[in-house]
Amino acid sequence: MSWREGIEAGLPPPPLDGESGDLRRDIIDELADHLDCAMQRERKHTDDDVAAQRAVIERFGNPGRIAYRLWFDAMKETIMSQRISLVTNIVVAMACIAIALVAFNSLKQNTALTDALLAKLESIGAGTEAKASAPVWADATIPILVDDKPAVDYLVTLLGEAFNPGKDEFLRHRTDADGRVAFGPIRPGRYSLRVEDPSGLQLTTDTILYPGHNELDPVSLPAPKPQPATVSFAVNLPEQIKNRIAFVRLKFAKHLPEHGAHNNQWHWPSLDVLLRPDGTVAQIQSVPVGGGRLPPQPTGNEEHIDLEALEQRRTVELDGALTYRLADIVLYVPIQDVADRFVKITLPLVRPRRARQFSPQYIKPIYFGGLPPLRATSTKENVWQVQIPDWLVETVEKHFEDSAITRG
Protein backbone atom coordinates (compact mmCIF):
# COMPACT_ATOMS: atom_id res chain seq x y z
CA MET A 1 0.00 0.00 0.00
CA SER A 2 1.54 3.38 -1.05
CA TRP A 3 0.49 6.63 0.56
CA ARG A 4 2.67 8.75 -1.60
CA GLU A 5 0.10 9.74 -4.19
CA GLY A 6 -2.27 11.03 -1.55
CA ILE A 7 0.46 12.95 0.18
CA GLU A 8 1.90 14.36 -3.03
CA ALA A 9 -1.57 15.47 -4.18
CA GLY A 10 -1.65 17.96 -1.36
CA LEU A 11 1.54 19.69 -2.39
CA PRO A 12 1.53 22.56 -4.83
CA PRO A 13 2.45 21.40 -8.35
CA PRO A 14 5.45 23.40 -9.43
CA PRO A 15 8.45 23.87 -7.18
CA LEU A 16 8.89 27.49 -6.13
CA ASP A 17 12.05 29.51 -6.48
CA GLY A 18 14.21 29.00 -3.41
CA GLU A 19 12.60 25.65 -2.54
CA SER A 20 15.00 22.92 -1.46
CA GLY A 21 15.12 20.02 -3.87
CA ASP A 22 14.66 17.48 -1.02
CA LEU A 23 11.82 19.25 0.78
CA ARG A 24 8.93 17.50 -0.95
CA ARG A 25 10.65 14.12 -0.90
CA ASP A 26 11.45 14.46 2.80
CA ILE A 27 7.86 15.38 3.65
CA ILE A 28 6.46 12.52 1.60
CA ASP A 29 8.93 9.99 3.01
CA GLU A 30 8.32 11.08 6.60
CA LEU A 31 4.52 11.00 6.38
CA ALA A 32 4.53 7.80 4.32
CA ASP A 33 6.72 6.11 6.97
CA HIS A 34 4.29 7.22 9.64
CA LEU A 35 1.31 5.90 7.70
CA ASP A 36 3.07 2.58 6.98
CA CYS A 37 3.81 2.18 10.67
CA ALA A 38 0.20 2.97 11.50
CA MET A 39 -0.93 0.48 8.83
CA GLN A 40 1.19 -2.23 10.32
CA ARG A 41 -0.36 -1.54 13.72
CA GLU A 42 -3.88 -1.69 12.33
CA ARG A 43 -3.14 -4.94 10.59
CA LYS A 44 -2.53 -6.43 13.95
CA HIS A 45 -6.16 -5.82 14.70
CA THR A 46 -7.69 -6.84 11.36
CA ASP A 47 -6.85 -8.73 8.21
CA ASP A 48 -8.89 -6.39 6.07
CA ASP A 49 -6.50 -3.99 4.41
CA VAL A 50 -9.29 -1.68 3.39
CA ALA A 51 -10.60 -1.46 6.91
CA ALA A 52 -7.09 -0.98 8.24
CA GLN A 53 -6.38 1.74 5.75
CA ARG A 54 -9.65 3.48 6.59
CA ALA A 55 -8.77 3.35 10.28
CA VAL A 56 -5.33 4.84 9.60
CA ILE A 57 -6.78 7.67 7.56
CA GLU A 58 -9.47 8.35 10.14
CA ARG A 59 -6.86 8.68 12.83
CA PHE A 60 -4.23 10.51 10.74
CA GLY A 61 -6.51 12.83 8.84
CA ASN A 62 -5.92 14.06 5.33
CA PRO A 63 -2.23 13.34 4.62
CA GLY A 64 -2.22 15.80 1.69
CA ARG A 65 -3.37 18.62 3.94
CA ILE A 66 -0.71 17.82 6.56
CA ALA A 67 1.92 17.58 3.83
CA TYR A 68 0.85 20.95 2.49
CA ARG A 69 1.03 22.50 5.96
CA LEU A 70 4.54 21.17 6.46
CA TRP A 71 5.56 22.38 3.07
CA PHE A 72 3.99 25.76 3.66
CA ASP A 73 5.64 26.14 7.07
CA ALA A 74 8.98 25.32 5.53
CA MET A 75 8.42 27.69 2.65
CA LYS A 76 6.63 30.39 4.58
CA GLU A 77 9.56 32.75 4.84
CA THR A 78 10.50 32.22 1.24
CA ILE A 79 6.92 32.60 0.10
CA MET A 80 6.40 35.67 2.22
CA SER A 81 9.64 37.19 1.05
CA GLN A 82 8.65 36.37 -2.52
CA ARG A 83 5.24 37.88 -1.99
CA ILE A 84 6.76 40.95 -0.39
CA SER A 85 9.22 41.10 -3.24
CA LEU A 86 6.39 40.66 -5.72
CA VAL A 87 4.29 43.34 -4.06
CA THR A 88 7.33 45.59 -3.87
CA ASN A 89 8.06 44.99 -7.53
CA ILE A 90 4.46 45.71 -8.42
CA VAL A 91 4.52 48.89 -6.36
CA VAL A 92 7.84 49.90 -7.90
CA ALA A 93 6.54 49.05 -11.36
CA MET A 94 3.40 51.07 -10.76
CA ALA A 95 5.49 53.91 -9.40
CA CYS A 96 7.73 53.70 -12.47
CA ILE A 97 4.70 53.63 -14.71
CA ALA A 98 3.24 56.59 -12.84
CA ILE A 99 6.56 58.45 -13.08
CA ALA A 100 6.82 57.54 -16.73
CA LEU A 101 3.30 58.80 -17.31
CA VAL A 102 4.03 61.99 -15.45
CA ALA A 103 7.31 62.37 -17.33
CA PHE A 104 5.57 61.62 -20.60
CA ASN A 105 2.88 64.17 -19.89
CA SER A 106 5.52 66.65 -18.80
CA LEU A 107 7.53 65.92 -21.93
CA LYS A 108 4.41 66.28 -24.00
CA GLN A 109 3.66 69.61 -22.40
CA ASN A 110 7.27 70.71 -22.77
CA THR A 111 7.26 69.65 -26.39
CA ALA A 112 4.09 71.57 -27.01
CA LEU A 113 5.55 74.56 -25.17
CA THR A 114 8.83 74.28 -27.07
CA ASP A 115 6.98 74.02 -30.35
CA ALA A 116 4.98 77.08 -29.45
CA LEU A 117 8.15 78.95 -28.46
CA LEU A 118 9.91 77.86 -31.64
CA ALA A 119 6.97 78.95 -33.71
CA LYS A 120 6.97 82.26 -31.89
CA LEU A 121 10.72 82.65 -32.32
CA GLU A 122 10.46 81.75 -35.98
CA SER A 123 7.76 84.31 -36.46
CA ILE A 124 9.87 86.86 -34.58
CA GLY A 125 12.96 85.80 -36.54
CA ALA A 126 11.04 86.04 -39.79
CA GLY A 127 9.92 89.49 -38.80
CA THR A 128 13.45 90.48 -37.84
CA GLU A 129 14.81 88.97 -41.04
CA ALA A 130 12.24 90.83 -43.02
CA LYS A 131 13.16 93.98 -41.16
CA ALA A 132 16.87 93.27 -41.60
CA SER A 133 16.50 92.60 -45.28
CA ALA A 134 14.35 95.63 -45.79
CA PRO A 135 16.56 98.60 -46.62
CA VAL A 136 16.48 101.44 -44.17
CA TRP A 137 16.89 104.68 -45.97
CA ALA A 138 16.87 108.31 -45.19
CA ASP A 139 16.13 111.20 -47.37
CA ALA A 140 16.44 114.83 -46.61
CA THR A 141 15.21 118.11 -47.89
CA ILE A 142 17.52 120.91 -46.88
CA PRO A 143 16.59 124.53 -47.30
CA ILE A 144 19.61 126.77 -47.87
CA LEU A 145 19.31 130.38 -46.85
CA VAL A 146 21.84 133.10 -47.44
CA ASP A 147 21.09 136.26 -45.56
CA ASP A 148 17.65 134.73 -44.84
CA LYS A 149 16.89 134.47 -48.53
CA PRO A 150 16.64 131.20 -50.51
CA ALA A 151 19.98 130.33 -51.98
CA VAL A 152 19.11 129.59 -55.58
CA ASP A 153 21.39 127.53 -57.79
CA TYR A 154 23.84 126.83 -55.00
CA LEU A 155 25.81 123.65 -55.38
CA VAL A 156 25.29 121.46 -52.31
CA THR A 157 27.47 118.45 -51.71
CA LEU A 158 26.68 115.76 -49.13
CA LEU A 159 29.77 113.87 -48.01
CA GLY A 160 29.64 110.63 -46.01
CA GLU A 161 28.59 107.01 -46.22
CA ALA A 162 25.74 107.66 -48.56
CA PHE A 163 25.29 104.11 -49.79
CA ASN A 164 28.01 101.85 -48.46
CA PRO A 165 29.14 101.66 -44.84
CA GLY A 166 32.78 102.57 -44.36
CA LYS A 167 33.08 104.08 -47.82
CA ASP A 168 33.12 107.82 -48.24
CA GLU A 169 30.96 109.06 -51.03
CA PHE A 170 29.42 112.33 -52.04
CA LEU A 171 26.22 113.41 -53.65
CA ARG A 172 25.94 116.77 -55.33
CA HIS A 173 22.76 118.63 -56.22
CA ARG A 174 21.86 122.23 -56.95
CA THR A 175 19.27 124.09 -54.96
CA ASP A 176 15.98 124.73 -56.67
CA ALA A 177 14.15 128.03 -57.06
CA ASP A 178 13.05 127.81 -53.43
CA GLY A 179 16.60 127.34 -52.26
CA ARG A 180 15.92 123.68 -51.34
CA VAL A 181 17.97 120.68 -52.16
CA ALA A 182 16.75 117.08 -51.80
CA PHE A 183 18.89 114.05 -51.15
CA GLY A 184 17.79 110.48 -50.92
CA PRO A 185 17.23 107.78 -50.43
CA ILE A 186 20.60 107.32 -48.79
CA ARG A 187 21.93 105.64 -45.67
CA PRO A 188 21.09 107.36 -42.42
CA GLY A 189 24.06 108.77 -40.59
CA ARG A 190 26.26 111.78 -40.05
CA TYR A 191 27.16 113.78 -43.11
CA SER A 192 29.14 116.83 -44.02
CA LEU A 193 27.21 119.35 -46.02
CA ARG A 194 29.18 121.61 -48.32
CA VAL A 195 27.44 124.60 -49.84
CA GLU A 196 29.06 126.40 -52.74
CA ASP A 197 27.77 129.64 -54.09
CA PRO A 198 27.85 130.41 -57.81
CA SER A 199 31.13 132.29 -57.40
CA GLY A 200 32.83 129.26 -55.88
CA LEU A 201 32.75 130.24 -52.22
CA GLN A 202 32.25 127.23 -50.08
CA LEU A 203 30.90 126.51 -46.64
CA THR A 204 30.94 123.22 -44.80
CA THR A 205 28.72 122.16 -41.94
CA ASP A 206 27.64 118.92 -40.33
CA THR A 207 24.24 117.26 -40.27
CA ILE A 208 22.68 113.99 -39.19
CA LEU A 209 20.14 112.17 -41.30
CA TYR A 210 17.78 109.77 -39.56
CA PRO A 211 15.82 106.92 -41.15
CA GLY A 212 12.82 108.22 -42.98
CA HIS A 213 12.28 111.69 -44.24
CA ASN A 214 14.32 114.48 -42.69
CA GLU A 215 12.90 117.95 -43.05
CA LEU A 216 15.99 119.70 -41.82
CA ASP A 217 16.21 123.13 -40.38
CA PRO A 218 17.40 125.64 -42.92
CA VAL A 219 21.11 126.07 -43.28
CA SER A 220 21.36 129.78 -42.82
CA LEU A 221 24.45 131.47 -44.15
CA PRO A 222 25.63 134.98 -44.21
CA ALA A 223 26.15 136.35 -47.67
CA PRO A 224 29.74 136.83 -48.61
CA LYS A 225 30.46 140.48 -49.14
CA PRO A 226 33.17 140.70 -51.71
CA GLN A 227 35.09 143.94 -51.97
CA PRO A 228 36.51 144.15 -55.46
CA ALA A 229 40.09 145.26 -55.53
CA THR A 230 42.56 145.63 -58.34
CA VAL A 231 45.94 144.02 -57.87
CA SER A 232 49.07 144.32 -59.95
CA PHE A 233 52.29 142.43 -59.42
CA ALA A 234 55.92 143.52 -59.30
CA VAL A 235 58.32 140.63 -59.71
CA ASN A 236 61.68 141.28 -58.12
CA LEU A 237 63.99 138.38 -58.92
CA PRO A 238 67.66 138.30 -57.91
CA GLU A 239 69.95 139.61 -60.59
CA GLN A 240 71.92 136.38 -60.92
CA ILE A 241 68.83 134.44 -62.03
CA LYS A 242 66.54 137.10 -63.38
CA ASN A 243 67.43 136.60 -67.04
CA ARG A 244 67.00 132.86 -66.89
CA ILE A 245 63.37 132.77 -65.65
CA ALA A 246 60.49 132.68 -68.16
CA PHE A 247 57.49 132.59 -65.81
CA VAL A 248 56.76 132.82 -62.14
CA ARG A 249 53.71 131.02 -60.76
CA LEU A 250 52.27 132.20 -57.47
CA LYS A 251 50.20 129.63 -55.63
CA PHE A 252 48.06 131.10 -52.90
CA ALA A 253 46.85 128.76 -50.22
CA LYS A 254 43.20 128.40 -49.34
CA HIS A 255 42.09 131.59 -47.76
CA LEU A 256 41.30 131.86 -44.15
CA PRO A 257 37.63 132.50 -43.68
CA GLU A 258 36.66 136.08 -43.17
CA HIS A 259 32.89 135.68 -42.94
CA GLY A 260 30.96 133.30 -40.79
CA ALA A 261 27.85 132.67 -38.82
CA HIS A 262 27.84 130.35 -35.87
CA ASN A 263 30.14 127.52 -36.79
CA ASN A 264 29.44 127.83 -40.46
CA GLN A 265 32.25 129.55 -42.29
CA TRP A 266 32.83 130.24 -45.90
CA HIS A 267 35.95 129.04 -47.60
CA TRP A 268 37.32 130.72 -50.66
CA PRO A 269 39.03 129.02 -53.50
CA SER A 270 42.76 129.02 -53.79
CA LEU A 271 44.37 131.31 -56.25
CA ASP A 272 46.93 130.41 -58.85
CA VAL A 273 48.57 133.25 -60.83
CA LEU A 274 51.13 132.82 -63.60
CA LEU A 275 53.28 135.92 -64.07
CA ARG A 276 55.92 137.01 -66.45
CA PRO A 277 59.10 138.46 -65.01
CA ASP A 278 57.84 141.91 -65.96
CA GLY A 279 54.84 141.46 -63.69
CA THR A 280 52.19 140.97 -66.35
CA VAL A 281 49.60 138.28 -65.64
CA ALA A 282 49.72 135.39 -68.09
CA GLN A 283 47.12 133.18 -66.40
CA ILE A 284 44.90 133.17 -63.31
CA GLN A 285 42.97 130.21 -61.96
CA SER A 286 40.77 129.51 -58.99
CA VAL A 287 41.24 126.25 -57.20
CA PRO A 288 38.16 125.25 -55.25
CA VAL A 289 38.30 123.87 -51.76
CA GLY A 290 39.07 120.23 -52.03
CA GLY A 291 40.43 120.72 -55.54
CA GLY A 292 39.82 118.27 -58.30
CA ARG A 293 37.73 120.29 -60.68
CA LEU A 294 40.59 121.92 -62.56
CA PRO A 295 42.73 119.93 -64.92
CA PRO A 296 45.33 117.98 -63.00
CA GLN A 297 48.47 119.93 -62.36
CA PRO A 298 51.54 118.63 -64.16
CA THR A 299 53.99 116.85 -62.00
CA GLY A 300 57.68 116.30 -62.36
CA ASN A 301 60.48 118.71 -63.07
CA GLU A 302 59.17 119.76 -66.46
CA GLU A 303 55.87 121.31 -67.45
CA HIS A 304 54.16 122.18 -70.70
CA ILE A 305 52.64 125.65 -70.93
CA ASP A 306 50.34 126.51 -73.81
CA LEU A 307 51.87 129.81 -74.77
CA GLU A 308 49.09 130.75 -77.18
CA ALA A 309 46.48 130.54 -74.42
CA LEU A 310 48.28 132.97 -72.16
CA GLU A 311 46.96 136.43 -71.44
CA GLN A 312 48.69 139.73 -71.19
CA ARG A 313 47.14 141.59 -68.29
CA ARG A 314 48.60 144.18 -66.00
CA THR A 315 46.06 143.68 -63.24
CA VAL A 316 43.62 141.15 -61.82
CA GLU A 317 40.41 141.64 -59.84
CA LEU A 318 40.40 140.02 -56.43
CA ASP A 319 38.19 140.14 -53.36
CA GLY A 320 39.53 142.71 -50.98
CA ALA A 321 37.64 141.21 -48.10
CA LEU A 322 40.01 138.29 -48.04
CA THR A 323 43.57 137.63 -47.08
CA TYR A 324 45.87 135.75 -49.39
CA ARG A 325 48.72 133.61 -48.18
CA LEU A 326 51.41 132.79 -50.66
CA ALA A 327 52.16 129.10 -50.41
CA ASP A 328 54.47 128.26 -53.29
CA ILE A 329 56.51 130.10 -55.88
CA VAL A 330 57.30 128.12 -58.99
CA LEU A 331 60.01 129.35 -61.30
CA TYR A 332 59.91 128.22 -64.92
CA VAL A 333 63.23 127.88 -66.72
CA PRO A 334 63.09 127.50 -70.53
CA ILE A 335 64.47 124.37 -72.05
CA GLN A 336 66.81 125.03 -74.93
CA ASP A 337 65.28 124.39 -78.37
CA VAL A 338 61.85 123.58 -76.88
CA ALA A 339 59.56 126.58 -76.85
CA ASP A 340 56.64 125.43 -74.67
CA ARG A 341 58.34 123.20 -72.10
CA PHE A 342 59.95 124.50 -68.97
CA VAL A 343 61.90 123.18 -66.05
CA LYS A 344 60.10 123.88 -62.79
CA ILE A 345 61.79 125.05 -59.63
CA THR A 346 59.24 124.89 -56.85
CA LEU A 347 59.96 126.99 -53.79
CA PRO A 348 57.63 126.12 -50.92
CA LEU A 349 57.04 129.19 -48.85
CA VAL A 350 54.56 127.95 -46.36
CA ARG A 351 54.05 124.57 -44.88
CA PRO A 352 51.03 123.30 -43.15
CA ARG A 353 51.71 123.04 -39.47
CA ARG A 354 49.24 120.25 -39.36
CA ALA A 355 48.50 117.89 -42.17
CA ARG A 356 45.21 118.55 -43.81
CA GLN A 357 42.73 116.02 -42.49
CA PHE A 358 39.52 115.06 -44.06
CA SER A 359 36.75 112.97 -42.64
CA PRO A 360 33.16 112.60 -43.69
CA GLN A 361 32.09 114.55 -40.66
CA TYR A 362 34.09 117.71 -40.96
CA ILE A 363 37.07 119.43 -42.45
CA LYS A 364 39.55 120.65 -39.94
CA PRO A 365 40.97 124.12 -40.42
CA ILE A 366 44.41 124.41 -41.92
CA TYR A 367 47.06 126.58 -40.44
CA PHE A 368 49.93 127.99 -42.33
CA GLY A 369 53.22 129.48 -41.46
CA GLY A 370 55.62 131.45 -43.58
CA LEU A 371 55.24 134.80 -45.26
CA PRO A 372 52.74 137.33 -43.91
CA PRO A 373 49.38 137.37 -45.70
CA LEU A 374 48.73 139.68 -48.61
CA ARG A 375 45.76 142.00 -48.65
CA ALA A 376 44.03 144.03 -51.29
CA THR A 377 41.81 146.99 -50.75
CA SER A 378 39.34 148.59 -53.06
CA THR A 379 40.29 152.09 -52.10
CA LYS A 380 43.75 152.19 -53.59
CA GLU A 381 45.95 150.53 -56.15
CA ASN A 382 47.42 147.31 -54.82
CA VAL A 383 50.84 146.24 -55.97
CA TRP A 384 51.99 142.92 -54.60
CA GLN A 385 55.73 142.60 -54.56
CA VAL A 386 56.94 139.17 -55.57
CA GLN A 387 60.36 138.57 -54.07
CA ILE A 388 62.16 135.38 -53.39
CA PRO A 389 63.20 135.27 -49.75
CA ASP A 390 66.89 135.29 -49.12
CA TRP A 391 66.72 131.87 -47.54
CA LEU A 392 65.51 130.44 -50.87
CA VAL A 393 67.88 132.23 -53.23
CA GLU A 394 70.65 129.79 -52.47
CA THR A 395 68.29 126.94 -53.32
CA VAL A 396 67.63 128.44 -56.74
CA GLU A 397 71.34 129.03 -57.43
CA LYS A 398 72.16 125.52 -56.41
CA HIS A 399 69.53 124.27 -58.80
CA PHE A 400 71.06 126.17 -61.64
CA GLU A 401 74.50 124.84 -60.77
CA ASP A 402 73.23 121.26 -60.69
CA SER A 403 71.40 121.81 -63.96
CA ALA A 404 74.56 123.22 -65.58
CA ILE A 405 76.60 120.29 -64.38
CA THR A 406 74.02 117.86 -65.66
CA ARG A 407 73.70 119.55 -69.00
CA GLY A 408 77.47 120.03 -69.26
Partner: protein, 111 residues
Amino acid sequence: MDPKLLTGTLEMLILDVLARADSYGYELAQTVLIASGERFDLKEGSLYPALHRMQRRKLLRSYWVNTQDRRRRKYYSLTPKGRQVLKTKRNEWTQFSRGIQGVLGQTYVVA
Protein backbone atom coordinates in the same frame (compact mmCIF):
# COMPACT_ATOMS: atom_id res chain seq x y z
CA MET B 1 -9.31 13.95 28.15
CA ASP B 2 -9.77 17.52 27.10
CA PRO B 3 -7.14 18.31 24.44
CA LYS B 4 -7.04 21.92 25.61
CA LEU B 5 -5.21 20.76 28.72
CA LEU B 6 -2.31 19.74 26.44
CA THR B 7 -2.03 23.19 25.08
CA GLY B 8 1.47 24.49 25.75
CA THR B 9 2.77 21.11 26.78
CA LEU B 10 3.25 19.47 23.38
CA GLU B 11 6.76 20.76 22.88
CA MET B 12 7.73 19.82 26.41
CA LEU B 13 6.49 16.25 25.88
CA ILE B 14 8.38 15.95 22.59
CA LEU B 15 11.57 17.33 24.14
CA ASP B 16 11.25 14.97 27.10
CA VAL B 17 10.78 11.88 24.93
CA LEU B 18 13.70 12.83 22.71
CA ALA B 19 15.86 13.54 25.77
CA ARG B 20 15.72 9.86 26.54
CA ALA B 21 16.44 8.61 23.00
CA ASP B 22 16.32 9.64 19.37
CA SER B 23 13.01 8.81 17.81
CA TYR B 24 10.80 9.30 14.77
CA GLY B 25 7.29 10.65 14.48
CA TYR B 26 5.18 7.50 14.79
CA GLU B 27 7.34 6.11 17.58
CA LEU B 28 7.28 9.38 19.42
CA ALA B 29 3.49 9.55 19.32
CA GLN B 30 3.23 5.94 20.49
CA THR B 31 5.72 6.59 23.30
CA VAL B 32 3.69 9.51 24.61
CA LEU B 33 0.49 7.50 24.28
CA ILE B 34 1.86 4.56 26.18
CA ALA B 35 3.73 6.64 28.75
CA SER B 36 0.63 8.63 29.49
CA GLY B 37 -1.47 5.53 29.94
CA GLU B 38 -3.15 6.30 26.65
CA ARG B 39 -4.29 9.65 27.98
CA PHE B 40 -2.24 11.80 25.59
CA ASP B 41 -2.96 10.81 22.02
CA LEU B 42 -0.91 13.18 19.88
CA LYS B 43 -2.63 13.94 16.61
CA GLU B 44 -0.38 13.75 13.55
CA GLY B 45 -1.83 17.01 12.30
CA SER B 46 -0.22 18.68 15.32
CA LEU B 47 2.78 16.47 15.90
CA TYR B 48 4.59 16.89 12.61
CA PRO B 49 4.16 20.63 12.34
CA ALA B 50 5.47 20.87 15.92
CA LEU B 51 8.48 18.72 15.09
CA HIS B 52 9.33 20.79 12.01
CA ARG B 53 8.84 24.06 13.86
CA MET B 54 11.13 22.95 16.71
CA GLN B 55 13.72 21.90 14.16
CA ARG B 56 13.63 25.34 12.55
CA ARG B 57 14.10 26.85 16.03
CA LYS B 58 17.23 24.69 16.46
CA LEU B 59 15.69 22.77 19.38
CA LEU B 60 15.88 19.53 17.37
CA ARG B 61 18.04 18.13 14.66
CA SER B 62 17.07 15.29 12.30
CA TYR B 63 18.68 12.58 10.25
CA TRP B 64 17.48 9.86 7.91
CA VAL B 65 17.81 6.14 8.41
CA ASN B 66 16.95 3.45 5.85
CA THR B 67 14.74 0.75 7.32
CA GLN B 68 14.81 -2.93 6.49
CA ASP B 69 11.81 -2.65 4.25
CA ARG B 70 13.65 0.11 2.21
CA ARG B 71 11.83 3.01 3.69
CA ARG B 72 13.48 6.26 4.71
CA ARG B 73 12.79 7.16 8.27
CA LYS B 74 13.41 10.53 9.80
CA TYR B 75 14.83 10.54 13.29
CA TYR B 76 14.86 13.51 15.60
CA SER B 77 17.34 14.22 18.35
CA LEU B 78 17.74 16.95 20.93
CA THR B 79 20.17 19.82 20.47
CA PRO B 80 21.91 21.52 23.41
CA LYS B 81 19.54 24.38 22.98
CA GLY B 82 16.64 21.89 23.12
CA ARG B 83 18.00 20.44 26.34
CA GLN B 84 18.21 23.89 27.86
CA VAL B 85 14.66 24.67 26.84
CA LEU B 86 13.48 21.31 28.22
CA LYS B 87 15.11 22.10 31.55
CA THR B 88 13.38 25.42 31.73
CA LYS B 89 10.02 23.97 30.76
CA ARG B 90 10.34 21.19 33.32
CA ASN B 91 10.95 23.67 36.10
CA GLU B 92 8.01 25.74 34.98
CA TRP B 93 5.80 22.67 34.76
CA THR B 94 6.91 21.49 38.20
CA GLN B 95 6.07 24.85 39.69
CA PHE B 96 2.79 24.88 37.81
CA SER B 97 1.76 21.33 38.76
CA ARG B 98 2.73 21.88 42.39
CA GLY B 99 0.59 24.91 42.44
CA ILE B 100 -2.31 23.07 40.88
CA GLN B 101 -1.80 20.09 43.18
CA GLY B 102 -1.55 22.35 46.17
CA VAL B 103 -4.81 23.96 45.34
CA LEU B 104 -6.55 20.74 44.45
CA GLY B 105 -5.27 18.94 47.63
CA GLN B 106 -6.74 21.49 50.15
CA THR B 107 -9.98 20.94 52.14
CA TYR B 108 -12.11 24.04 52.21
CA VAL B 109 -14.58 24.80 54.99
CA VAL B 110 -17.45 26.79 53.76
CA ALA B 111 -18.82 28.92 56.55
